[in-house]
């Protein structure tokens, strides 16, 4: 925020220390581009959707402004608003069919959109002047001089920066990064993946429309050639070079890349070849953007003490942290009733029933391929049962989405921890509380105090959970720097941040040392004491029989025994198929 303020101050002073008209023009251009790129940055850099056709939206914004206020005489600022709204609407139409599909489909759809807009601009000569083009009016005084316009552009850039800054820094931004880096995790914590992608893209359409109006006015005359496809590529390259998941980086990207060809003449001639080369180098050498290089250098210069610290849970603190965020424990079980799951002709689960009660640790064991993870996926919603029912509080959940179950308080961890590697450990846990904020894009972007306050509260609660599970030493560390046991415990903390009634643990002891397994057992018992139902899928059978209240055994998709651990352990059939003598 400080850097942003300094940049704004510097920008405000530019006309005083620079007498060169052209420099003011260039700075205005950078601001116009930034209005678009800041919005696009949320799409490309945060939600990870590659829109390579944003120039189409820029073009619509500029033409709308030129036609409405130039030809039809609407007040300029009204026209800017209409341009933004229209481009947002175009974003909606474009994103609706394509954002559900793999990334390449979306990229191609946006590229096609840019080409269509060019075609329309040429074909609708009456409106757009066809190939000849259209003059674009300037803004009314005091914005009608180059310096006046410059201040307007700076204002636009600052407003958009603040909006995107607010989004990026709070729950919504964490959700977007989850969508980018790990869509499965995003679903698991209840982020509405498609809706968030679409909303962000619509927002980027709106900023592109406003940016287009400003850009058109700055150019004062536009033709379809003003909006060549390569401009899209330029926007895109600015963001990728600046670094994904950053706002300052892409801003520096656009500033440098706009000014550079003006300073170094041969680069202007090479044009797109240069941008292509830059993009290729960045992707191959530092895919996280140039900013990452500085980070790495900084790390080299002052190496931080990241020696491995054994994980030591603080159980009373954990119990308090859980109690602080949970309402009264429920009384209803999460139950699977005679569920069957088939994949083609393969029956992975055959009429299995299981009842997971609040405040109980329920073990699920069986040989590999016996259907343990399938059952867990059915309970958490990644699969839908072929027949049978899954119920919670009388609600039938069989067809309900993963997100819906997250809302109802069903949390889970994964066999291979699914963390957001570029976020801090703390932010990984805060993300778990998504469904308790259900953040709206608008309220987040506007920086409402209510939203900011809630974000702070959730952050404190998440920190308490982390202290509780024994990760105090790693709270600010990037999650991809964690050791294996730390990753497992972090996933449990994230699950607890969801304030679950039930938590499903998929082989949480996998790869842990004996001491760590002891700690895990303590944590699981503490979770039980808080009234949460725990489903424990595990191969460490000693551990399962030690901590569980009840145990269910599966074999080739069938349930062979369930009941008290001691009864299951001594059951001859269980010993034959799984435990061995």
């Amino acid at each position: 925020m400080l850097a942003l303020g300094a940049a704004a101050l510097l920008a405000a002073g530019l006309p005083f220390w620079s007498t060169d008209q052209y420099q003011v023009h260039l700075a205005s251009l950078i601001c116009c581009y930034w209005v678009l790129i800041a919005g696009l940055n949320l799409v490309v850099g945060y939600s990870g959707q590659l829109s390579i056709g944003h120039v189409g939206l820029l073009s619509i914004g500029a033409y709308t402004f030129a036609i409405l206020s130039g030809k039809w005489g609407l007040p300029p600022f009204v026209s800017v608003g209409v341009a933004g709204a229209l481009c947002g609407f175009c974003g909606l139409l474009l994103g609706l069919p394509s954002l559900r599909l793999p990334g390449f489909y979306f990229a191609m759809a946006t590229m096609a959109f840019a080409l269509i807009v060019g075609e329309f601009a040429l074909a609708q000569g009456d409106l757009t002047g066809g190939g000849v083009g259209l003059p674009v009016p300037s803004f009314p005084a005091p914005f009608d001089t180059p310096v006046g316009f410059y201040y307007l552009a700076v204002l636009g850039a600052v407003v958009v920066s603040v909006l995107t800054w607010n989004v990026a820094r709070q729950m919504y931004g964490r959700g977007l990064i989850a969508i980018r880096d790990n869509p499965v995790t995003a679903q698991a914590v209840g982020v509405p993946v498609f809706r968030a992608k679409l909303t962000t893209f619509v927002f980027s359409g709106m900023t592109a429309g406003v940016g287009g109006a400003l850009f058109g006015s700055l150019q004062s005359y536009i033709t379809p050639d003003t909006f060549h496809f390569e401009l899209s590529l330029f926007f895109f390259v600015c963001i990728i070079i600046g670094g994904r998941g950053s706002i300052v980086g892409p801003f520096l990207g656009v500033a440098v890349l706009t000014a550079l060809p003006e300073v170094v003449a041969p680069l202007a001639k090479l044009g797109n070849f240069f941008y292509g080369l830059l993009l290729l180098l960045v992707v191959l050498v530092v895919p996280e953007g140039i900013g990452r290089v500085f980070e790495l250098i900084a790390q080299r210069l002052r190496p931080r003490n990241s020696a491995s610290v054994p994980v030591a849970p603080d159980l009373p603190r954990l119990a308090k942290a859980i109690a602080a965020i949970r309402a009264v424990p429920g009384e209803h079980p999460l139950s699977a009733r005679v569920v069957t799951k088939q994949f083609g002709a393969v029956v992975a689960l055959d009429q299995v029933s299981l009842e997971l009660r609040p405040g109980e640790i329920h073990g699920l064991i069986g040989p590999n391929g016996s259907g343990k993870t399938t059952l867990l996926n059915l309970l958490s919603g990644y699969y839908q049962p072929s027949s049978g029912a899954i119920q919670l509080r009388g609600e039938e959940l069989g067809q309900a989405s993963v997100r819906r179950r997250a809302q109802l308080g069903v949390a889970r961890t994964f066999q291979k921890p699914r963390l957001l590697g570029t976020l801090s450990v703390l932010n990984n846990v805060v993300l778990g509380a998504w469904t308790h904020v259900e953040p709206g894009f608008l309220s987040t972007a506007l920086g409402l105090p209510r939203v900011a306050r809630l974000d702070r509260v959730l952050t404190d609660q998440a920190a308490e959970l982390l202290h509780g599970v024994g990760l105090s030493h790693a709270i600010e560390r990037r999650a991809n720097l964690l050791e294996h046991a730390e990753q497992r415990f972090l996933e449990i903390a994230r699950g607890l941040a969801m304030r679950p009634s039930f938590i499903l643990l998929d082989e949480p002891a996998g790869g842990l040392s004996n001491d760590e397994i002891e700690h895990l057992g303590d944590i699981i018992r503490t979770i039980r004491e808080a009234g949460i139902g725990v489903l424990l899928v595990e191969h460490h059978t000693d551990f399962v029989f030690r901590v569980c209240d009840r145990v269910t055994t599966l074999d080739v998709g069938r349930m062979i025994r369930h009941g008290h651990p001691e009864d299951v352990r001594t059951d001859p059939e269980v010993i034959r198929v799984y435990l061995g003598a």
């Binding site: 990870g48 590659l50 390579i52 609706l96 069919p97 394509s98 559900r100 599909l101 793999p102 990334g103 390449f104 489909y105 990229a107 191609m108 759809a109 590229m111 096609a112 959109f113 080409l115 269509i116 075609e119 329309f120 040429l122 074909a123 869509p183 499965v184 496809f229 390569e230 590529l233 990728i240 090479l270 044009g271 797109n272 070849f273 941008y275 292509g276 080369l277 993009l279 290729l280 992707v283 191959l284 895919p287 996926n377 990644y382 699969y383």
Partner: protein, 286 residues
Amino acid sequence: MWMVIVSGLAIGALFAATALSYNVMYSTSKVLSVTTGHIAMLGGVFGAYAITALGQPWWLGLIAAIVVGGLFGWLTDVIAIRRVLARSDEHLWLLSTLALATMVQQAVGLWWGTEPKPFPRLIPQDFSAGIADQKFWLPIALAGVMALGLEFFYRRTMYGKLFLAMSEDAFAARARGVSTDRIRVASYVIAGALGGLAGFAAGQLTFAYFALGLTLTLNGFIALAVGGLGSNLGALIGGLTLGLLNTFASYLFGGEYQQTIAVGLLMVVLLVRPEGLLGAQQIRPV
């Protein structure tokens, strides 16, 4: 009217050939390369360069187109795919192939010029041949031969079966001792050679034009998405449908909205049947 149909089939055949080229690369790497259309562009440009500027016979131009296409396919793998696939981030290959495509397009623009240049006649034929003109029938014939050839390759040759194995499950193929890296490189060279050939065959229709690549990348992809990713028959159907739609739309409404109609088709298919006409249902990600 026949003219509309035949020219639609011809341009559709070029889209289909591009889509087939996409499929060959996709089968071994699960990558949709943005350079796919640019390969065909290079075939057209280098064919024209060899014949017109260097005065070589047509068959040398043909070889030039195939070699340049294959070479560029290989380069695509070496520069934009190999290192990126090792990192297993699904976005990166889109960026790297986009970067490479941009560089190639700009380089050709600087060297060859940004105006479309005519492509020489390959077979002596009068320009008044109408619908029998070679510029229509060469790409149509080629797309047919390509589709049949690929079918033969996949079904009857050991190498082709390795491609199929990799497209089913690259991991399992490697476990059986298949050198998946070599197969992938081979697939890029083959796709490049086929793409270059397609660009050469369609040269008289499209002219030798530096910006053709992006259009073909897009339209080839639309053909593929309509027909179903991974299906060669789908690629043919999708390509021809798109070509016919293009020319009929121009015939009925004028040529200004060609791209709009193509994209409209894409959007409708994505909404109604995202997996395409003959594509496999997508499997859930967990």
